[in-house]
């Protein structure tokens, strides 16, 4: 990307770089011109990288002590918690790390939605991101099964049973997934294998995600194309590195608070009861980060259509670059879109809330309305808005508004929409 070719100073460096241009890569990563007006919502990419590495490192350590067997899994987790040196710390980081990972990814996704980062020329980055998000959900779901508690077992039963909704071959697929006629030891061992594999797939996709990002460069809060490098950009190191580092530290404080002071608050008490196929828990609830989709699933009366709705709710995001017909990226210059954006945020939060509640009465009604709105937002509002909306004129470069005190007016506007 950088315009002038990088030449190593030392002779050995040059010899090596001619054969494997690692130094060119390092130079590209440090020099990488980044818009200087990126706000803190942009720091979650770095935070997510941290989350992934934390999960892999703690996960590897846990795998050294965990036993993937239906009779021993629960006990081995207690062994980790009690007898392995700092096992409690590693496990609590891993368990809460999953929640922190999803918290960060949701902020990352909603940042992209607000500033239109999915639009041309960044569609591939966005689609790779959606695949990463899908894999994250698969990894998190299978990871939650591994302690072999009651929620693990019944969560696995409910989710795998969704495949039985597929006509004709559904039953066969479910038995194939289970490796038997119910969730049992073969299910646990294959989930463990896949839970181990998926993070490395994610890691590979993250490399592609960043590679694809480095072709057009970062979007920015103004959403206009930036000339690179120019006075509108700063080199990634040290400017963005230190800013991401600062944000990461703030994030780690929240993270540490959960790990050390309320490590079980995001989990479900029933998962400290060993799995028992004979006893069904009163409420089977997934982890909080899957609740919006769980609400969509349950809001459709037909099982097959429920599964279709749930999957479409995620896959529809992949079509977003073409569903959103507006050429303007940032919501800052789209007064109407901005309002619909916040309604969507509220809609997803409501879906998450009703997902945790029993699917009956008023909750079910709210879930249905919210589900319908979710699809209306993407399938109707966004395509129409692009043609109808009167947008605010864009500035010519980001330097002008930055110097003219533009961020302040932007902030005031956003505050209004928050209230």
């Amino acid at each position: 990307m950088s315009d002038q070719e990088y030449v190593p100073k030392s002779k050995f460096g040059k010899w090596f770089n001619d054969r494997l241009p690692l130094l060119t890569l390092a130079s590209h990563l440090t020099e990488y011109p980044t818009p200087k007006n990126l706000n803190y919502w942009w720091t979650f990419g770095g935070i997510l990288t941290f989350c992934l590495i934390t999960q892999i490192v703690t996960g590897l350590t846990l795998a050294m002590h965990y036993i993937a067997h239906a009779d021993l899994a629960f006990e081995s987790v207690e062994h980790i918690m009690r007898d392995v040196n700092y096992g409690w710390l590693i496990r609590y980081i891993h368990a809460n790390g999953a929640s922190m990972f999803f918290l960060a990814v949701y902020i990352h996704i909603f940042r992209s939605l607000f500033y239109g980062s999915y639009k041309s020329p960044r569609e591939i980055i966005w689609i790779i991101g959606i695949i990463i998000y899908l894999l994250m959900m698969a990894a998190a779901f299978m990871g939650y099964v591994l302690p072999w508690g009651q929620m693990s077992f019944w969560g696995a039963t409910v989710i795998t049973n969704l495949f039985s909704a597929i006509p004709f071959i559904g039953e066969g697929i479910v038995n194939w997934l289970w490796g038997g006629y119910s969730v049992d030891n073969p299910t646990l061992t294959r989930f463990f294998t896949l839970h181990y594999l998926i993070p490395f797939l994610i890691l590979g996709l993250v490399v592609l995600h960043i590679w694809a990002l480095h072709i057009p460069g970062n979007n920015n809060p103004i959403g206009i194309d930036v000339k690179k490098p120019s006075k509108d950009t700063v080199p990634f190191h040290p400017y963005i590195v230190i800013k991401d580092g600062f944000a990461l530290l703030m994030f780690m404080i929240v993270f540490a608070f959960f790990v050390f002071y309320s490590p079980n608050i995001l989990g479900h008490a029933d998962n400290y009861i060993e799995a028992n196929p004979m006893v069904t828990p009163a409420h089977i609830v997934p982890e909080w980060y899957l609740l919006p989709f769980y609400a969509i699933l349950r809001s459709v009366p037909d099982k097959l259509m429920g599964v279709v709705a749930m999957l479409s709710a995620i896959l529809i995001l992949a079509a977003l670059p073409w569903l959103d017909t507006s050429k303007i990226r940032s919501a800052v210059f789209r007064p109407l879109y901005k309002q619909f954006y916040w309604i969507l945020v509220a809609d997803v939060l409501i879906l998450g809330y009703v997902g945790a509640m029993p699917a009956e009465g008023l909750y079910l009604l709210i879930a249905r309305v919210a589900t319908a709105y979710y699809f209306i937002h993407f399938l109707m509002i966004l395509p129409i808005l692009g043609f109808k909306e009167k947008t605010i004129p864009l500035p010519l470069s980001i330097t002008d508004p930055v110097l003219a005190g533009f961020p302040n007016t932007e902030m005031v506007k956003k505050k209004e929409s928050l209230n």
Partner: protein
């Protein structure tokens, strides 16, 4: 910076929202000030030792605690009995070991490294002796119930006569806080049921508090270490964050742009 606080605020809002969503409670549980809550929460050593006494003399006749070892009773952050005391405690129990060189199983007194001896051989035996209900293992019980320690404390003190019109079958008892108000465990605690070794008056509330404290320790034996490390870790992070903040300001002051 302002931006940052907004992110922070939103995170807190999101999390508390999802928590409230999970905690759908109907009956208000009894609550007391547990010494192990809070940033510097520690177990009350005396309470843990008394709680162990309640557990052995009352609960352990039906409830196992299969993930806790006798040695744990002497470890730091626990009841902290002396090693001699724990050896004497363990010696009261018998475990089946073997096979020995003759291929025979044999019975020997428990050692520090043994797990707590279970009152029943297996789940079926436990059910047979308890009218079909399995007394749950108590190792992680304090974490395995919504409401946690407050819930267990409330159930222990929640036995009442059934309201008029509600008839209970034989061997089923009415409990205000139990899910469905029906419990198959008879009222386990009553004033002066046991005599505390340290002379504390064994009131029902005192025993409930002590045994729940003990259960919390059994479920989270490293709780004190966790709180201690947490304080240090967060303090360290805060100091580092401040330093990085000023470095960031310094670096960004080279260009005319705000962070």
């Amino acid at each position: 910076m302002k931006n940052f606080f907004r992110i922070f605020y939103l995170i807190i809002l999101l999390l508390t929202g999802s928590l409230q969503a999970n905690a759908a409670e109907k009956v208000e549980l009894l609550k007391i000030d547990w010494s192990f809550k809070g940033l510097f929460g520690k177990f009350d050593r005396g309470s843990l030792q008394r709680g162990y006494q309640v557990y052995t003399e009352v609960c352990s006749s039906c409830h196992s605690m299969k993930y806790v070892s006798y040695r744990n009773l002497a470890e730091k952050g626990g009841p902290e009995f002396t090693e001699e005391q724990v050896k004497a405690i363990a010696a009261n129990f018998e475990v089946t070991d073997g096979p020995n060189n003759d291929g025979e199983m044999f019975v020997r007194p428990a050692k520090l490294s043994d797990k707590f001896v279970m009152p029943f051989e297996n789940v079926k035996a436990a059910q047979a002796a308890n009218g079909g209900a399995y007394p749950p293992d108590m190792s992680v019980l304090a974490k395995a119930r919504t409401g946690g320690v407050n819930y267990i404390y409330s159930v222990l003190l929640g036995y009442q006569d059934p309201p008029s019109g509600v008839t209970m079958e034989d061997g089923v008892y009415y409990n205000k806080y139990m899910y469905g108000n029906k419990i198959k465990m008879s009222k386990p605690l009553s004033d002066d049921l046991i005599e505390y070794n340290d002379g504390t008056v064994a009131s029902e509330e005192q025993m409930a508090k002590d045994v729940v404290t003990f259960l919390m320790w059994a479920a989270e034996p490293h709780l004190e270490a966790r709180h201690k490390m947490g304080f240090k870790a967060i303090l360290y992070l805060i100091i580092l964050t401040i330093l990085v903040y000023f470095s960031m300001k310094r670096i960004w002051s080279r260009i005319e742009s705000k962070v």
